[in-house]
Each structure stands twice: as C-alpha cells, then as structure tokens.
Point group: C2
Chain length 151, copies 2
C-alpha cells in the first residue's frame, strides 16, 4: 500500500532540508554567454532514499541522483516543472523559516527565465543581482567563482 | 495577526531539524544512581528565533534557550509534556525519515519513566539498552562517556 506524503509535511521538510539554488555557468553557446540553472533539491543520506522517491512521486517530476558519497538527492531542474509545479506548491504551502526569502528570489529568477530574459546580458545581470542576495553558502561560493572567473 | 503553524508542517520540519534525545547522567541523589533526561528539541540559527517561539506556542509547552553560539533551541523536557503532548502529536502526524525509529525508542524510554522504572537499576539497564540503539551521533557519544565513566 502506497503511503502518500502530506503537502504540509513536504513544506516543513523543505524548510529543514530543501535548497533553492541558482547556478550560473559560462557557456559560449548561449546568446548571452551564460547558462542559468535554477534547481530545487532535497538531499538525504542513502538510508532515506525511499523517501526521495516518494517526494519525486509526490511532485510528479524530478530525478533521484547520487549527490555525494552516501548522500542522494531528488532534484527538479526543468523550468516548466519549477514554474508550474514547485513554485505554486510553495505559494500554497508556505515556508516558515528564512528560507522563504531564498524561495521568493528563486521564483523571480524562474519567472525571468520563463520570459526569456536569461538570453540577454541585461537579463543575466538582473538574475545575478538577485542570486547575489540569496543566503545559501554554496550560492555565495558560486558567485565568488563567477566573479573570479568572469567578473 | 498571529499565524498558526500547520501540524504536518511541524512534523516535516521535525523530520529535518528535530532531535529526540535521551541523556543519562550519574546522579548519586537518585535511587538507581542515574538520572535519565529525555528531551525533544529543535535547534535553529538565531535568525529564526521567532519560529522557535511559534513552535513553543504551537505545542503549548517547552522553553526557548540559547543552544550554542548563534544557535537557539526550543526544548521540551517535562515527562508529562513529552508523554501527553509531544508523543501523541508524532503518533498522529508521523515522521517519514529514519528518525521515526529514534522517536519510537524515545517513546519507549518516556513510557518506562512514566512507570517509574528509571528509579531501579533494572529500569536503567533497560533504558540504556534502548538508548544504545538510537541513531544520533551525540547519543552514541553520551553512551561512550557513560561507559568510560561508569561502565
């Protein structure tokens, strides 16, 4: 018997364990010279890999992959899935920690990409200035790399 | 306007951030020579201290205290509150990660204390053997200390 996850449980678990991440990579094949990769993910120790598959099935999108060492993740990268499934879900089942501010910035980036603004240098600048204000340590690291490499 | 937390959000957040902990300390004033201190807690960075107060208000018990450095915790230690509020809550709104096994062991310990078994050496042995199987690294550390000091 399959046990469904409760929507608010998913919201609470995301407040603890989820990451809204915006990756920015140099890519000369893109018009603006950069590729923007927003990603929502939840990482767990492999002992909870079944839960990652439950989350994938809950959202009806995403993939389960190895993250690092004994850690696995469920991650959603497709803009359509982020815009039509993930973002509306967290609007309806709001985060309660300061992570909600990351989510709101993430949402802005996804909306800009939906409008195709990531294909212009102006759009990329806008996205970078939003991403800069995101709290995640790894995000800050990415921006430092970005600046060091391309700044 | 006060915003209430959703019960399942609290369960999901606990799966990510909560700890069910059983402390065991030597205490010569206790009949069995040991004091058993079960504790449920959620630790957050000080930027989310308001959420800890919301959790305290949600459960209607506990205290908010400094944990370490820039971290604060809401914690519940009173056996009555653990037995009558916390444990029934997580039976009704079940954990989904492997932490649920810690919770079930924690529950056993609280039930043993309610029956007064922690006042006998046999009861303490029973509690120790349950606590030993709990997953938390810090728990294992405590047992090692226990063994080194009193074993």
């Amino acid at each position: 018997m399959k046990r469904e996850l409760e929507p608010f449980w998913v919201s609470g678990f995301t407040d603890g364990e989820g990451t809204f991440y915006v990756g920015i990579n140099k890519n000369t094949e893109m018009t603006a010279g950069f590729q923007v990769l927003p990603e929502f993910r939840i990482v767990q120790h492999e002992k909870d890999i079944k839960l990652l598959y439950k989350l994938k099935s809950f959202f009806g999108c995403g993939v389960v992959r190895k993250n690092h060492d004994t850690r696995y993740e469920v991650r959603i990268r497709k803009i359509e899935h982020l815009a039509k499934i993930i973002i509306p879900f967290f609007i309806k089942h709001p985060l309660q920690t300061q992570k909600k501010h990351d989510f709101l910035k993430f949402r802005k980036v996804v909306l800009l990409i939906e409008k195709g603004e990531h294909l212009t240098r102006d759009g990329i600048d806008k996205i970078l200035s939003i991403a800069k204000k995101m709290n995640r340590k790894e995000k800050l690291r990415t921006i430092e790399n970005f600046k060091n490499k391309f700044g």
